[in-house]
């Protein structure tokens, strides 16, 4: 493990001021509910989650409750939960129950901790709420050979089992795939995932493909950003930065409130202690911001 990975060629860095993005409304609130703790250590993880990475720790039920209260006063529309692996958080199901009382919730999970019993409990949580409860299960290939080198030996089988357990309980997750195999984003690549899901008996297959962020473990796997991959004031589109998710989201971790789900391992991405501290504009001063802009990324479903 190298300590510092050099970034690009400084000679190609671009001049100019760093643009700022306004928070036009706080629509989507994220919780880094699983911290950076994960039962996997995927080679492309942009927050380098692993069983021993405690950069961020679990967010407690108490902290979630306080934040939900503050969020209601700001008119938040939807809640997302990620990690790490959210279901490693021992309070996760209680956190979902509390959230579904006030709004719709989506959980991003690796699918490994979705036992039939848990899936049945989650289904009854969903049935008992006015709001949608949605799941996103990550996988990186349509078979063990394409998935396991990225997510770990033997994970394909377990992920498929988790998806089946959700399906058997009446929950239909969105399968989330990164572009780690270029093919995944193509029509033919997507069809391979749809085929897999149909084989599992899922009649309404749902799929989301995400580009990779060249930070964290992914920077080691595929190389870090080049120095020219930075946003500058001149890049500001005519219609502004409303297409960036940081114009409508914030991320709560055990250590405060960050601007977005991508930059949690950058202390400079932290904007404050409470939501009310983070309503000011944010400087798009990170190469990952370039990815969001160029690829039109939203971590939302």
């Amino acid at each position: 493990m190298t300590d510092v990975i050099p970034i690009g060629n400084p000679a190609r860095a671009r001049e100019g001021a760093t643009p700022k993005v306004d928070l036009r409304s706080l629509e989507t609130l994220w919780f880094q509910v699983g911290g950076t703790v994960c039962n996997l250590a995927c080679s492309h993880c942009f927050v380098s989650s692993s069983p021993t990475n405690r950069t961020h720790d679990f967010v407690t039920l108490e902290r979630v409750r306080e934040t939900l209260e503050e969020a209601a006063g700001l008119g938040v529309k939807e809640y997302y939960f990620t990690g790490g692996e959210p279901f490693l958080n021992p309070e996760m199901e209680a956190i979902l129950a509390a959230t579904l009382e006030v709004g719709p919730a989506t959980v991003l999970t690796n699918g490994l901790l979705l036992s039939p019993e848990r899936c049945r409990r989650l289904a009854s949580l969903a049935a008992g709420s006015h709001h949608s409860l949605d799941f996103r299960v990550s996988m990186d290939g349509w078979d063990a050979e394409s998935n396991d080198p990225i997510r770990g030996e033997g994970t394909f089988e377990k992920i498929v089992q988790g998806i089946s357990n959700l399906h058997d309980a009446g929950l239909n997750p969105v399968i989330t795939v990164t572009e780690v195999h270029g093919e995944s984003a193509s029509a033919a690549g997507k069809e391979r995932f749809f085929e897999l899901l149909r084989r599992l008996g899922i009649e309404k297959p749902r799929l989301k493909v995400l580009p990779l962020f060249r930070i964290g473990a992914e920077a080691e796997r595929a190389g870090a950003y080049e120095s020219w991959q930075r946003l500058r004031a001149g890049d500001t589109p005519e219609e502004g930065w409303d297409h960036l998710q940081c114009s409508s989201c914030r991320m709560v971790t055990d250590q405060g409130v960050w601007v977005c789900p991508i930059l949690v391992n950058e202390p400079s991405g932290k904007m404050g202690e409470r939501l009310a501290d983070t309503l000011d504009p944010f400087e798009l001063d990170h190469p990952a911001c370039w990815t969001c802009h160029v690829y039109g990324v939203s971590c939302k479903t």
């Binding site: 493990m1 749902r206 930070i215 405060g256 202390p267 404050g272 009310a276 983070t278």
Partner: protein
């Protein structure tokens, strides 16, 4: 795993184990590993920590919106509001009859006149006949400004494929005069029903193509919007699925649904809303919201769509009441209730 020797598999497992414990006692800071304590120390002092008083002020400033200055129409006793005509002139014709029969004093359309159905030019004379006050949907905005797509807000390639087909058809079959008229429509209206002020928008008060689905539009969010807009009710369309919610504050949020295609429930009727102020026994009043199912000549529409060579997927929706496209936008609850 084909093609790998046991030794290679052992090697990979060893590398994986190493990767999984590499962070022991360390934090990830961008592309570096640093001692956990160092990350936490820097993170602790990063960002702002306002006082409680400053926080209250920051929230108030953040939520403050200037008044929109839109004049209030009315007051009316009873109005009919509909959206999403999608070229379905047969349903629009049925609406004009039904709303008149039910005593609506004024008719309002929340936009998206085109797309999906046949013969866009048949819509405008009906709007004029009914003296319908119309606001701009994303469709009108796109057609009037020469956009290449409908800006419906889909993210799925299949949804976008069908959206392009129907937008292309409407764009080709719509006169320049009609498009010009669309460009002159307002994007919001305010209407008094009795003592109550209703805000009429297409998607949401803040974005023309925002989806407000029932299971994904929580109460605190709506209360905040109503506070910001200083109104007693918000009426919207855009999703294609109708719902009404009475808020704890006594105010209302209504998605009036669409006239253009059925509501993905296996029934062929479409929906609109009737609104009037109702006196309560307590001496107070509330807004009586009736979501009205509307039958129309859907067989005739299907035949017309086939003559116009519109996608058979669209015709199926008209004939069965189940959506075959635009499914990816549905939240999990609405998707679970749909056929496809």
């Amino acid at each position: 795993m084909s093609g790998r020797t046991p030794k290679e598999i052992r090697e990979q497992r060893r590398a994986e184990r190493e990767r999984m414990v590499a962070h022991r006692g360390m934090a990830t800071w961008g592309e570096r590993l640093v001692p956990l304590g160092e990350f936490r120390r820097v993170a602790e002092s990063a960002g702002r920590a306002l006082s409680e008083k400053e926080r209250a002020a920051a929230v108030a400033t953040f939520l403050e919106r200037p008044a929109d200055g839109v004049p209030v129409e009315g007051p009316y006793r009873r109005i009919a509001v509909f959206g999403g005509v999608y070229n379905n002139h047969r349903a629009l014709e049925a609406l004009l009859d039904d709303a008149e029969r039910r005593g609506a004093e004024a008719l309002y359309c929340l936009g998206d006149l085109g797309g999906f159905g046949p013969n866009p030019e048949k819509v405008r004379p009906l709007l004029e006949q009914g003296a319908v006050a119309t606001i701009q949907g994303n469709y009108e905005e796109s057609l009037a400004s020469g956009r290449e797509d409908c800006n419906c807000g889909y993210t799925d390639p299949r949804d976008n494929h069908f959206a392009r087909l129907s937008y292309g058809y409407t764009e080709r079959n719509c006169s320049e005069a009609f498009k010009g008229w669309m460009g002159g429509l307002p994007t919001r209206r305010r209407v008094a029903v009795g003592q109550r002020e209703l805000l009429l928008v297409h998607g949401s008060p803040r974005r023309i193509n925002e989806f407000l689905f029932e299971s994904a539009t929580p109460v605190p969010f709506l209360e905040t919007l109503l506070d910001q807009e200083r109104c007693d009710a918000i009426l919207c369309t855009h999703t294609g699925l109708q719902w009404h919610r009475r808020l704890p504050s006594g105010r209302d949020a209504v998605n009036v649904g669409v006239l253009g295609r059925p509501a993905n429930d296996g029934r062929t009727n479409v929906w609109y809303a009737l609104l009037e102020e109702r006196e309560l026994p307590s001496g107070k009043s509330d807004l009586d919201v009736e979501l009205v199912p509307l039958a129309y000549d859907h067989q005739g529409l299907a035949e017309e769509m086939r003559r116009e060579e519109l996608p058979e997927e669209f015709v199926e929706t008209i004939l069965t009441g189940w959506w075959t496209t635009c499914l990816e936008i549905l939240p999990s609850r609405e998707r679970a209730e749909s056929h496809y």
